[in-house]
């Protein structure tokens, strides 16, 4: 027998036939293939027993194979299950076998029938952990694409919800689904996403974050350009806004785009609360982030260069807190910032319960000890702790990471040029935000390009009846979200 390499064999499928494929697969321990003899007919049933649901086989398949049927068509006619595929292509046979199908071949015919019996063992739908909300639905996506699609479809039971499926990854053969609502979503957005995904040439797609990193407009930007969410309700809601959703089999997170900078500061819970409260929380979050980015750099700049700025009553507090500290403010700040990052990283790598302990131990013991040892000032400790807290208020995890990262260049610039350095690096940041796009749509919208209408759901969230149109950002085909009542027209 000729020894073909795995990939070559796929390409030259014409020269092979079913038996070759089956023989090839026989090498795997978990591949089962047996023959059944009935009245001169020899069925060959083959499958991976790790991939299939044995219940289906025993209940719905094997009992019916005993009935008299001389052709595959007849056989199929008798089978009480759906998802039956005829194929003549050995390559398809192989790939479907690997997807959890059972193949039945008849020695006379060149056809095979594929019975879907995939073992859909997956996690139960559970509470959202990353984007938990006190009020509102408490379902989160799971690793199974079909379950995830079900979770979204049951929220949008309309024919217009289109699901496009693409298989990506030479090795992983991951199913990637692109969802949008026809008639609302901008075709251009959908096509861009589909185009970019099908252009991917990769070996493996393990998670949705792989996709988002590979199809982003600006791959070197620290800013995420697709929102990553585990809430099916959020996905359903943005589909209604006309955005595009990407689901990846095996990933408990969906992606949505195009997204804007301000969306990353909007928790989905904001929509479950009264608009006044929600707006207040959003503003708080936004200021927390600004504080988080700017506070330590300002401390370093002021203490290193601009002592004039400190009001006379604050001078003594600051000087006393710094007295006896051998390091310049920048070093002090870097030590503390890195310490906080260490704590976070250690907490993230450890199991939940141990992680909590680490947080407490690190926060209290290291903090107090470093102040008492005279290595850092307690004023700075407060500021660094607060700015760390501030960075954790962002509802989208990826954005929180970004915010913690961009603090460091600002800190260094503050050390080099004081407030001037902060201003310059802040300009760099702004220009960067101006330059990046998400699916070709400006990222900083509605701030720039200024679109007053979209500001109703950016920094603040106005009541639903004031948001009768879909965001301009998405360039939807159908812009009206709330149709005016009949009687109001009169």
């Amino acid at each position: 027998m000729k020894r073909y390499s795995f990939f070559k064999k796929q390409e030259n499928h014409k020269s092979t036939d079913f038996t070759d494929v089956l023989e090839h697969l026989q090498k795997s321990k978990d591949f089962t293939s047996f023959t059944l003899n009935f009245e001169n007919e020899i069925y060959c049933v083959s499958f991976f027993d790790t991939l299939i649901d044995k219940d289906i086989m025993h209940r719905d398949l094997l009992p019916y194979l005993h009935t008299n049927s001389s052709t595959l068509e007849e056989l199929v006619h008798n089978l009480p299950i759906e998802g039956l595929v005829f194929t003549k292509n050995p390559a398809e046979l192989q790939s479907q076998l690997l997807m959890g199908y059972i193949a039945i071949t008849l020695n006379k015919s060149d056809q095979a029938v594929l019975v879907k019996a995939a073992n859909n063992t997956s996690r139960q739908v559970t509470l959202p952990e990353v984007e938990f909300s006190v009020v509102g639905p408490k379902e989160a996506l799971v690793e199974s694409l079909d379950t995830n699609l079900y979770l979204i479809r049951k929220r949008l039971p309309i024919a217009e919800l289109a699901v496009e499926e693409i298989i990506v990854g030479k090795l992983s053969k991951t199913r990637v689904a692109v969802l949008h609502i026809e008639g609302i979503a901008n075709k251009e957005n959908v096509e861009t996403v589909i185009q970019r995904i099908s252009d991917l040439r990769v070996n493996q797609i393990i998670d949705s974050s792989y996709i988002s990193q590979m199809i982003e407009d600006n791959k070197n930007s620290p800013f995420p350009q697709f929102i990553d969410t585990e809430r099916p309700d959020r996905l359903a809601a943005v589909l209604g806004e006309g955005k595009v959703v990407i689901l990846v089999d095996g990933a408990p997170h969906g992606l949505l785009g195009p997204s804007t900078f301000f969306e990353y500061f909007a928790a989905f819970e904001d929509y479950f609360l009264n608009w006044t409260i929600a707006s207040f929380f959003r503003l708080i979050r936004f200021f927390a982030v600004l504080f988080s980015i700017l506070m330590t750099p300002i401390y370093v700049a002021v203490l290193t260069y601009h002592y004039e700025l400190i009001p006379k009553d604050l001078v003594s507090t600051l000087v006393i807190s710094r007295s006896g500290i051998p390091f310049p403010p920048i070093l002090e700040a870097l030590i503390l910032e890195l310490a906080i990052e260490l704590l976070r990283e250690a907490g993230a790598r450890l199991p939940t319960k141990v992680g909590q302990t680490i947080g407490i131990v690190g926060g209290i013991v290291i903090g107090t000890a470093s102040v008492e040892a005279g290595l850092t000032s307690n004023v700075l400790l407060i500021l660094v702790a607060l700015s760390a807290l501030g960075s954790f208020t962002t509802p989208v995890y990826q954005m929180g990471n970004t915010i913690r990262l961009i603090r460091f260049p600002l800190l260094l610039m503050a050390y080099f040029l004081g407030l001037l350095g902060i201003a310059i690096s802040f300009c760099f940041l702004l220009v960067h935000l101006l330059r990046i796009t998400s699916l070709g749509r400006p990222f900083l919208e509605p701030l720039y390009p200024p679109r007053i209408y979209d500001m109703r759901d950016a920094l603040i969230r106005l009541p639903f009846f004031l948001q009768a149109k879909r965001p301009i950002e998405v360039q939807t085909e159908d812009t009206v979200r709330l149709e005016p009542k009949e009687d109001s027209k009169e």
């Binding site: 700025l309 009001p311 604050l314 040029l417 004081g418 802040f426 300009c427 220009v431 330059r435 390009p449």
Partner: protein
Amino acid sequence: MNDKSDQISPFLVFFLIVKIQVGVGVLGFQRIIIQSAGHDAWMAVIISGVVFSLGIWGMYKLLNRHDMDLIGIQKRLFGKWLGGLLNIIWILYWLMVGISVLRSYLEIVQSWVFPQINTWLVTSIFALLIYYVVLGGFRVVAGFCFLGISIPSYLILTFYFPLEFTHFRNLLPIWDHSLKDMALASKQMSYSYLGVSTLMMYYPLVKHRNSSQKWAQLGNLTSVFLYLCLTILTIGYYSEGQISRYIWATLSFWGIVQMPFVERFEYIGIATWVLVLVPSVCLYMWVSARGISQYFKMKQKTIYALLLILLVVMTNLIKGRGMINQFVDYISNLGLILEIPYVLFLVCLSTVMSNKKEDKK
């Protein structure tokens, strides 16, 4: 560069006009006009504002007729050679204004914050920032201009603090100066309004450009209003002899700010001014590069790189307050001729020429 995706909404013209007019000059324009027109200086602010309104009207007249940028218009009106020469003058002028803006700002930084700052390094950092902006195309430049107004606008709130020490009686008696004084002050004031000519370069990138004039006029009006408020505040806050001693009167306002968590706001003001000034330098650089790219077939990147190297070198070659002032005066005088009388002359010329064409037909 794709022009289509670079087009901006007409109302952004408002921000571009305000941005280009309100730059480093705001920090210290008061002294010069108050020296000429005393407590009547606020009238000069209005007078030259009106003149610039007229200038903008002229520019729109010209642009709407030809529907192309200034470089193209001059080529059409004066032919290849004379038009080329005039274009070079304009491009050089914009470039030099950009340089003078950056240089004046560094002068402030040197005298207030870091006297011994390494100007080569700082200008290089600025050049880098500008490079990063202009490579993003006009959409990013305009966006930066927009943010460069909206973010620093919080500074307006700080003018509440000097209000406590303002003697509005100082404005009286109204009209106590001769026409000659007023004319001189108006001329000096108009330096602060210079820059609107950049409109003639980004005009083709404005959507519905024919009807964007109202935004440009509104922008000019806003600048007038801003300058007016500052002038009135200055007249009330300082006595006449005192103002002649302060080079940067607006900055000195901030010396009086006292808040529980911060005082001496001028340092924050100077830092924030980066956001005010860099966008206008970017716009000048973008305009010059656009002009140049119509003559030399070079990559945009190369043009910008060359311009910015020139920016860094020139900024560092001009040293000392005397030389800076001389340079700024020279550029401003050129600008004053170019932006108002020359533009109006172009309007007349193009009217005459288009009439002739019609006659021939």
